[in-house]
Amino acid sequence: MIFLLPVYAIILIINVPGLIKRKEWRELIAFFVFYTIAFVLGLMYVLDITIPSPMKGLNCLISDLLGLKYPKY
């Protein structure tokens, strides 16, 4: 947490003033969407909350539901 907050504050300071100055609103919205996702994921990681792995879901779909997998040797 000690590292997370300053890092994300710096990211905000680096990006936002320039985007507002150039009136790039679309870029600003995209930035905030990804920034929020990144911050929430970082916070979950720091607080030791389980983050669902996209690969686990994909593995379940391909290997378990569709049965597409190689045999074990």
Partner: protein, 369 residues
């Protein structure tokens, strides 16, 4: 249709970009070692032969739509909705594969080099470095690409020469003793990981100069990269034999055996340096393609605002996507190589075929829609 990337790369730069990218997978051939054992060299050659027509189709597709990337091409060929869906599939592939590669670096360092340092530290520092490199644009990456390629080839060849006295070529025998399914899986790994991942260049080839001869340079880069992987596989099998399957990283183990008059020893640091710079280069290209693809699909003028937030997401996904290196290997050898197959082997040749039949992009008075 406006382009986010204004930079241009030359033909030889494309060659070195492809070669460095393929060499960046040198650590990942270990996934095939467990399957193919002493026939890993054969699996690399077979995987290369299978991949060549598909890689040519990537280059031919990009050549047909100069100045465009795959997101723009999908919109033209498949229409807005289906095109966007295919682009999202492509973006998912870039996103998840980048997280695997970043994780590989973390595992390399925490297992072999600095076991007491927190895993997340390596991921964060490495991704921040990639983010900085990518923010300079494709031209900078292209200009330094030859340095990475030379480093990779120098380390592969020099360590092989220094290990000649430890090599036993009977380690390659007997040939064809493994069940076909294991060889098949090994070839599948090779097609999907070092060679098939060159699909990332569908975001890059479009920015090659008109006189860049993209098919020839892409193919030459692929062959040069495959040559380096082949040397590493032959060296590891000749030195370690069947025992290479029990090591987590055979390259480290084989180079640790270098002992020239008790002066030249512990040369595994060379492998550590080479693998770090090559994976760094590969991750930069993945990250660049991901940023460009996301910005393109969202209709942004620049990818710069997304660099740091996406880097933050990648760090956390890389840290949590697998529970352990064993989990990593198990999933990569199955679902990891199966889900990307349509993207690598079906969609690009199909797109090229549709473009040829519909005579795109020239069909509307020579103008791109």
């Amino acid at each position: 249709m406006t382009n986010i990337e204004k930079g241009r790369i030359s033909g030889p730069q494309l060659l070195f970009l492809v070669s460095g990218f393929v060499q960046g997978s040198v650590m990942l051939i270990d996934f095939a070692v467990g399957m193919a054992e002493k026939q890993t060299w054969m699996v690399i050659l077979a995987g290369l032969l299978v991949s060549i027509p598909f890689v040519i189709s990537y280059a031919a597709l990009a050549k047909r739509f100069p100045g465009m990337n795959v997101i723009q091409i999908n919109d033209i060929i498949y229409g807005r909705i289906l095109g966007k869906l295919l682009s999202i599939y492509y973006i998912f592939f870039l996103f998840i594969t980048l997280s695997f590669n970043i994780r590989d670096v973390g595992e390399l360092y925490t297992i072999f080099l600095m076991p007491n340092t927190p895993f997340i530290f390596f991921l964060a520092v490495f991704t921040a470095t990639c983010a900085y490199a990518v923010s300079r644009g494709i031209e900078v990456l292209a200009r330094i690409s030859y340095l990475f390629v030379i480093t990779g080839i120098f380390v592969s060849i020099s360590t092989t020469i220094l290990l000649v006295d430890k090599m036993d070529f009977s380690n390659f025998l007997p040939l064809f003793e493994l069940p076909f399914i294991r060889i098949f899986q090994g070839i599948h790994i090779m097609v999907s990981i070092p060679f098939g991942e060159t699909i990332v260049f569908l975001m890059i080839i479009g920015y090659t100069n008109k006189d860049g001869n993209v098919i020839k340079n892409t193919l030459s880069g692929l062959l040069l990269g495959a040559f380096s992987l082949f040397i590493v596989a032959v060296r590891n099998t000749a030195v370690l034999g069947i025992t290479q399957t029990i090591w987590t990283a055979p390259s480290f183990q084989s180079t640790r055996l270098i002992d020239i008059g008790t002066v030249l020893t512990r040369m595994d640091f060379l492998v550590g340096i080479a693998q770090t710079v090559l994976i760094f280069f590969k991750c930069c290209l993945f990250f660049y393609a991901l940023l460009l693809a996301v910005s393109e699909i969202l209709g942004l003028k620049s990818y710069m605002p997304l660099v740091l937030p996406l880097a933050g997401i990648e760090v956390i996904i890389a840290a949590t996507v697998f529970q352990s290196p064993l989990d990593h290997a198990e999933i990569t050898q199955n679902a990891g190589i199966i889900y990307s197959l349509p993207l690598m082997l079906v969609i690009p040749p199909l797109t090229l075929l549709i473009a040829k039949i519909r005579r795109l992009p020239e069909s509307k008075g020579g103008k791109v829609t």
